[in-house]
């Protein structure tokens, strides 16, 4: 065992490689969050539909996605979807899986955010003869977004921390890179520790960023136009 001591030369040698892989991690998180927000809104709005059957089925779909492991969902999308003729790259599978998984979580955030809007606002929109689309776009969402920011941000950070699972379908993100470096050099200490520290730094920065976004956001809502 060449063991206990920390090899700085080796650290500096592998650091740029891990940073390159960090770009893939961040890209997957970014695309995943966009997809998750869209899916979350779709689920949340369907939960408010007039059809009881639709409401109940969406409830169970969300419940199912939330209570099964992301890793198995990733495997499912990666290995089973091709049977239906849909083959996706590891990155696309990852974005799809992250988006679906966290979309289910976000739908609950959005739902409670929308439910939090006073009844009077809906009634006033109705009285002013606004269409459903206008009611959501101009009245409900502008007021509902601010209270949703902290929870949404937390889920995006959680998603970021689950991206290493994409290494299981060979996506070359930070952890996969660290694993490859480790197995080539028989030294896991530096690459794994570096990746861990990078995750810590990125999540602390993101938490700070979300707090700033929330603070800057006008309390009285804003126009989506």
């Amino acid at each position: 065992m060449n063991g206990f001591h920390w090899d700085w030369a080796f650290t500096w040698e592998v650091f740029p490689m891990i940073l390159t892989a960090a770009k893939v991690t961040l890209l997957a998180t970014l695309l995943g969050s966009i997809f998750a927000i869209v899916m979350g809104l779709v689920f949340a709005l369907l939960r408010r539909s007039n059809s009881r059957t639709l409401r109940i089925s969406i409830y169970w779909v969300v419940e199912f996605i939330r209570s099964t492991p992301l890793l198995v969902q990733i495997f499912f999308l990666y290995y089973v979807m091709p049977e239906f003729g849909i083959s996706m790259s590891p990155l696309a599978t990852g974005v799809f899986a992250l988006g679906l998984h966290y979309g289910a979580y976000l739908s609950e955030v959005f739902r409670s955010g929308i439910d939090g809007i006073e009844k009077g606002q809906w009634e006033a929109a109705r009285a002013l003869n606004l269409t459903i689309v206008d009611t959501y776009k101009d009245i409900v969402l502008p007021q509902a977004i601010r209270p949703m920011i902290p929870a949404t941000g937390n889920y995006i950070i959680a998603m970021f921390k689950e991206t290493p699972q994409l290494s299981a379908i060979t996506l070359l993100e930070m952890l996969q890179m660290a694993k490859i470096i480790g197995s080539e050099n028989f030294r896991y200490l530096e690459p794994f520790t570096l990746v861990g520290i990078l995750y810590l730094v990125f999540s602390l920065l993101a938490a700070y960023g979300i707090h700033q976004v929330e603070r800057r956001f006008p309390k009285e809502g804003f126009s989506l136009k």
Partner: protein, 220 residues
Amino acid sequence: MEFGEIVSVLLQGAVVTIQIVAMALPLAVLMAFSFGLIRLYAPTPFKQIAIVYIEFFRGTSALIQLYWIYFVLPFFGITIDAMTAAVVALGLNIGAYGTEVVRGAIQSVPKGQYEASIALNFTSSQRLWRIIMPQALVNMIPPFGNLAIELVKATSLVSLITIGDLTFKAKMLADTTLQVGEIFGVVLLFYFVMAQFLVFFIRRLETHLSKGLGRGGLHS
């Protein structure tokens, strides 16, 4: 491979998954209570140690913690088998999230309860264990239930350090039989059933614990 055979292999994996949950859950609860209480009541240096533990395990990824414990600790001369690494990593990870549950639940007990127990001259440990904790426990049950489900889901990660859990068996079967649709479908269903079982159990526990608190509980 016949469907029955597939299910029986997957059931073996499910047993391993349940074993890991059964070992990691007590560790997580222990960590949550001890560090949650340290975070609230201990002198500053201990508090800071608790904060480092909590921030570290909540700020980094569970899979990386698992890999670190399994692949890096041997470099320090600490070799542990995969199963121990899995239980330790998951227990510490979920435990770190649990500290916040404990802290939040204790802080949510109305201030009048503290004041009344001081007025009645209870000692500080009586105050905590007889007045505050029984009320805080009820508030902890739903978020702890969610964490338990997160733990069940997180056990799937141990398949990546070669433990033969449900996900590992599924991956193995999928690689050999290519009947991917049935296999992963059944596995998703297994996890779903485990989570629903936990949900049911947690509701029962909540109803049971909220008896005598004069607030009725959600389901009584």
